[in-house]
Symmetry: C2
Subunit: 342 residues, 2 copies
DNA sequence: ATGAAAGCGCTAACAT
DNA sequence: ATGTTAGCGCTTTCAT
């Protein structure tokens, strides 16, 4: 069993006693050939174990049937869910998903993008809205349907989206969290997030809500770029040593908040009182944790579904009028900030 | 800006004043052309924004530079981590990762595999060792390097691995958990897992350890196929109603165990005493939770690293002697089963 | 060190 | 309804 040559259309054609073209047609547009030849071809193909070479198809049709996705990290549960739903939605429409992880590195992003663009991708998904010049140049030159996830163009950092956008307002998300903490009667809310363009918007929204509600500047703490449980743990250690002047903490990632909750429990700090904790993402664990975790819910499945739809429409050449879809976000109030149980 | 044709080698050749062949060489084997022409070609390519068409390359070289991965679910954190490391390792070697999710459906697996095989993949990664006949037939006919993840061939359910295997013994993993619970003095350990070939092995190992240690048959409970926090919650509800005759629970998934811990906390059931809880996977959260979670650690990064290595070696045509690599697993004892704090 | 010819496996655009 | 021709963009092989 050495280097057995894979069967080609020609082989199938020979066995079925027809031309290559007929094989091609019988397999891709079954209703354009006669019942009889179709059966012959199908049998021959099955007998030889014929599998069409999609590279050759891509070469001629200029459609690869592949979608590329450039993600920041895929271990973030909300992104993992998104990828899962993207994959399922795309598979249902006959696309395959090529995945690349940028780990928040603009260089890595540009590098991966360049490699992806050579693959005749039918479409591209970007899970982060902020790119470096090289990436932007590649994208502009690519002439390929693009959908960006999560980051709506907004705020004091206006940006030019590359394609369609499906996402939510980071400003509103931050604002919802800040407003909720104020409403629950907390006097000194703090913001815990990374320091990039996206988080900046969440911070701005949060800050505005606290300014409006309490007339004071909220505390801000910068966490690591790849959020982890430990971020939350560390913050609570500081809190326990009175180094953080807050009575409520908003984490821009649920896992950080969960880490914080665990640390509170261990140190005997009561949540929601004296300390309130709010997360972001509304992972399944937020609902189950004890105390359950207040969080900003992002409809990840909806994002994935709309992304697939928008991409598919563009690929099929349909006119897509919507430039951006706001899927919204929603604060889910739970025990971790329920200070006034009326 | 309508359907701007993408530049090809020909365009670059024309601009650089050389032949297509020289362009090809200058770009892929730079040291075989003269310094001067190389520079000319590189400049021309950059100026035109030339990106090689990998479909055409794949067609002729029979190498696509793509690896396909068929996973069960990607939202399982340990699998997400695995994918992340696979992607990074593969990217470093110049491969791209095509991802497919079978959701534990053999039909879906066969369907995806068939589609993948048309893509001239250089290699294939399978994250589940048990396949249906159709999948096996496709795999046998494919003649492509395959690495299977997680499930070592073993036990009372012998199976013929398709390619190389990188994994651990499910029997040993179950056994380690059972033995640990017995050693900690628990009298009635229970096993909570799904009902498939893989889990069967874990059950067998667990059962053996309990039989050997206590001389009794452990309790067994079947959870849902896609593990979730809620499985754990539900089990604890039953426990609280005295419907589960156990004093220690082994979950074959950390998230189930975490869900169980939370429920215990809410219902005032003390862990580790009267109830011990052990998980599987040793996710980061196991270390942080309160109480911290005893779990069976699987070295996911190592699995990913070795998988990439094995795949790459096979693709490069090197002789790979190892049929299977056992990365082992390790019981990490923590508070959730520490009954005898000596 | 470079070029010319041929062809990878498939399908678009014509035939018939 | 089926066949013929040509060619997608690249690289292999063989010249030079």
């Amino acid at each position: 069993m050495t280097t057995k040559r894979k069967p080609t259309v020609k082989d199938v054609a020979r066995l079925a006693g027809v031309s290559s073209m007929t094989v091609s047609r019988a397999l891709s547009k079954p209703d354009v050939v006669s019942q009889q030849t179709r059966r012959k071809v199908e049998e021959a193909a099955a007998q030889l174990g014929y599998v069409p070479n999609l590279a050759a198809m891509a070469l001629i049709t200029k459609r690869s049937g592949m979608i590329g996705a450039l993600m920041t990290t895929i271990t973030n549960p909300i992104l993992a869910t998104t990828i899962e739903k993207l994959q399922q939605g795309l598979a249902a429409k006959g696309y395959h998903l090529l995945i690349g992880e940028t780990v928040f590195s603009p260089d890595q992003e540009a590098h991966l993008l360049r490699a992806f663009l050579g693959r005749q991708l039918d479409g591209l998904i970007l899970a982060y809205g902020y790119h470096n010049e090289e990436t932007l140049a590649l994208l502009r030159g690519a002439d390929i349907p693009v959908v960006e996830l999560w980051d709506l163009p907004e705020g004091p950092l206006p940006r030019q989206p590359i394609g369609r956008v499906v996402g939510f307002s980071n400003w509103s998300a931050g604002h919802a969290a800040g407003q909720h903490l104020v409403e629950q009667g907390y006097q000194r809310p703090g913001f815990f997030g990374f320091d990039d363009e996206r988080e900046e918007l969440r911070w701005q929204g949060f800050r505005q809500a606290v300014l409006d509600g309490l007339g004071l500047e909220p505390f801000r703490f910068k966490t690591s770029s790849i959020p982890s449980l430990d971020d939350g743990t560390r913050v609570i250690e500081l809190y326990a040593r009175d180094e953080i002047p807050c009575d409520a903490l908003f984490f821009t990632n649920d896992m950080q908040a969960i880490g914080a909750l665990y640390r509170c429990q261990r140190l005997g700090i009561q949540v929601p009182d004296p300390l309130g904790i709010c997360g972001f993402g509304d992972l399944p664990i937020a609902q189950v944790s004890t105390p359950s975790l207040t969080s900003v819910r992002i409809p990840a499945e909806k994002v994935a579904r709309l992304t697939v739809e928008l991409l598919d429409q563009q690929i099929r050449g349909e006119e897509v009028k919507t430039a951006a879809i706001d899927v919204g976000c929603e604060l889910i109030a739970r025990e971790s900030t329920r200070r006034n149980p009326e």
